[in-house]
């Protein structure tokens, strides 16, 4: 009595499709250990030369540091801005809350190519092109909606009675927020942190419009590199990116479970 879904043909098909889904990401790993001069799979020889090249490539390394610095700043600002905003929308519930929530999460609905172009044009007249500040604002535009979403859900799920209990025990509203609300939102804050960091770190299209010779990020540099020549150097850099992402994801999973964080 084999159920149709678990029939062997179905299993094979699903297996092949999973292979299709994961192939490119998996492939990057062996290629990074290639000893060839050019991109080829399977590699004709193996070595660590491309990792050495990566570390020695000052452009890529400084771009990497810029990416991290940018992601850290953007993440911190996202939390500082989105936590009060989510409190205002979810707890204070003033008129127009729902409209404001939709407005503030609207940037996610726009394709990044359009958003990137729009920001490019405005920033050009404001002198923010190829500046760290410009990059921060450009990234905030897309990380804030994510942060607002996650934090609003987290706040909405809190047991209001705990805040009321604290109030009846003598805590003023600000104390309630700092001692009760915020700690109870911890898992949501962790999820928002991870999300903002990854979104900023991996961001390419908008960043493409906002970078220049003076300041660039790792994904953008990789993009230019692949544009001109696709060699195994990109693979080793990609492995670096993937491991970084894995580290962040595992940390989130440790704190609260990955599927709970992102699948609502």
């Amino acid at each position: 009595m084999a159920d149709n879904p678990t029939s062997w043909s179905m299993r094979v098909i699903v297996g092949l499709l999973f292979l299709f889904l994961l192939a490119p990401v998996l492939l990057v790993f062996p290629i990074s250990f290639s000893g060839d001069d050019v991109l080829a799979f399977p590699p004709n020889s193996w070595s660590l030369r491309w990792y050495e090249e990566l570390v020695g490539n000052s452009v890529l390394m400084s771009a990497f540091l810029t990416s991290i610095g940018l992601a850290v700043v953007v993440t911190a600002l996202s939390l500082i801005i989105a936590v009060p905003a989510s409190y205002a929308i979810v707890r204070l519930k003033v008129t127009g809350s729902e409209f404001l929530f939709n407005l503030f999460t609207a940037p996610l609905l726009l394709p990044t190519i359009v958003l990137g172009l729009a920001i490019l044009i405005i920033f050009a007249s404001m002198g923010l092109l190829a500046t760290f500040t410009g990059l921060v604002i450009g990234h905030l535009v897309i990380t804030l909606p994510y942060a607002l979403r996650v934090l609003s859900v987290s706040l909405g799920n809190l047991n209001l009675a705990c805040e009321e209990a604290a109030s009846t025990l003598g805590a003023r509203p600000l104390v309630v927020f700092l001692r009760i609300t915020l700690p109870m939102m911890a898992s949501g804050i962790v999820a928002a942190t991870a999300l903002c960091f990854l979104v900023s770190f991996d961001e390419v299209v908008i960043t493409l419009f906002l970078t220049g010779p003076r300041i660039t990020t790792l994904p953008v540099e990789l993009f230019h590199h692949v544009e001109s020549q696709a060699d195994p150097l990109v693979a080793s850099a990609s492995v670096l990116l993937i491991l970084m992402t894995l580290a962040v994801v595992v940390t989130v999973d440790r704190t609260m479970g990955l599927t709970k964080a992102f699948i609502k």
Partner: protein, 371 residues
């Protein structure tokens, strides 16, 4: 003075009430949840707000706590008007139905919170927390987190947390409804003991009439935003003043009858009288099942003359409920249940037998039709 907003009776003027609610009105937009409520509570009294869901009892409690503001009216504690004071300034202890323990703090941390808000020195806080936890027998769990505790234990922590601050008033919002029956019984007794030992004025919200009857000094029966009756458990149970109170608290029989010129009531071919004269026309008579005496010798009973109400009836069902046996009679087409303690009941009764049912006039309540 109290306005005529209590439908039923049982109004007693209280000298020097500790907690008083005057002309409280609560409206949400067009909906008037509580039209006009007046209540006075003595110091040290344990009073229950009893009623079905939606009657306004929780709304009233939350207004006392300051979590909701009344649309109009005043609330005073110890003579001081607290109507416009925020919850954190009212010095009340509130125990929630869901306990609302702070999940990220230990048991000791939870109990200490109110004391920290009052700026007490750390040593004093530790001492008071220890005493409060001992009072609810949870001293050995002070380092645990709420999620590691059972429902009953969480409830006791919530109680300790509310009591340790020595509040003017203790408020309990259906604190026992999430516990299983056995635990509920134990907690009822414990809460009552602690309340009396501390002499703390307490308002207790519940929909469980057994809870109200067994624990409280006075009961406030509410329905639809109105107070139906205020009185001691005995008053409420034995002398309900409205049909709702009669049927909500304890079991009761209802029979339709016709009120006559002299205040008597005609049911079928029998005539009975109620404690108060009946109005003319269609009325509803209510009698408690355990107040009725069964005389199985119909012929002999009919020859007797009593000052009590007597009606012959036919038995159609017997239900055994453990310590009580219910005899289901039919009177004028309606069901009429008589309860007898199992030990005193005789065996051998069968459906189809007839008997004379009698009960005293004082035990008879009569209300208008449509009750």
């Amino acid at each position: 003075m109290m306005h005529q907003t209590i439908r039923g009776g049982g109004i007693e003027a209280i000298d020097d009430p500790y907690l008083s609610l005057r002309d409280i009105n609560k409206r949400y937009g067009m909906v008037e949840v509580i039209p006009n409520l007046n209540l006075e509570v003595r110091k040290g009294e344990l009073i229950a707000l009893l009623g079905p869901s939606g009657c306004g009892k929780t709304t009233t409690l939350r207004m006392i706590a300051g979590l909701i503001s009344p649309t109009s009216g005043t609330i005073a504690v110890g003579g001081r008007d607290v109507t416009h004071i925020a919850p954190h300034g009212r010095d009340m202890g509130l125990v929630f139905q869901s306990y609302a323990l702070f999940p990220h703090m230990t048991v000791a941390g939870n109990v200490a919170f109110g004391l920290e808000m009052r700026g007490l020195p750390r040593a004093e806080i530790a001492a008071k927390v220890g005493k409060a936890l001992d009072m609810v027998q949870l001293g050995h769990l002070s380092g645990r987190k709420p999620r590691e505790l059972s429902g009953g234990q969480q409830q006791r922590v919530a109680l300790a947390r509310a009591l340790v601050i020595e509040p003017s008033i203790l408020l309990l919002d259906e604190p026992l409804s999430n516990l299983d029956a056995k635990l509920r019984d134990e907690m009822r007794a414990q809460i009552r003991d602690i309340q009396q030992a501390l002499g703390i004025t307490t308002v207790f919200v519940t929909h469980d009439q057994v809870e109200a009857l067994s624990m409280c000094d006075r009961i406030v029966v509410m329905k639809g935003g109105f107070i139906e009756q205020v009185g001691t458990p005995h008053d409420i149970y034995e002398h309900p003043v409205t049909p709702f109170v009669a049927s909500f608290v304890g079991r009761t029989n209802r029979i339709k009858g016709i009120g006559g010129q002299d205040g008597s009531i005609r049911i079928g071919s029998s005539t009975i009288r109620a404690a108060a004269p009946a109005q003319k026309g269609d009325v509803t008579v209510m009698v408690r099942p355990h107040r009725v005496h069964i005389d199985w010798d119909l012929a002999a009973a009919e020859r007797q003359t009593h000052a009590a109400n007597r009606i012959p009836a036919a038995l159609f069902r017997i239900t055994f409920v453990g310590d009580v046996i219910q005899y289901h009679f039919s009177i004028d087409g309606s069901e009429f249940i008589v309860e007898e303690a199992t030990v005193r009941s005789q065996a051998g009764r069968r459906p189809g037998q007839t008997a004379m049912l009698s009960w005293s006039i004082e035990d008879t309540s009569v209300f208008g039709a449509g009750s």
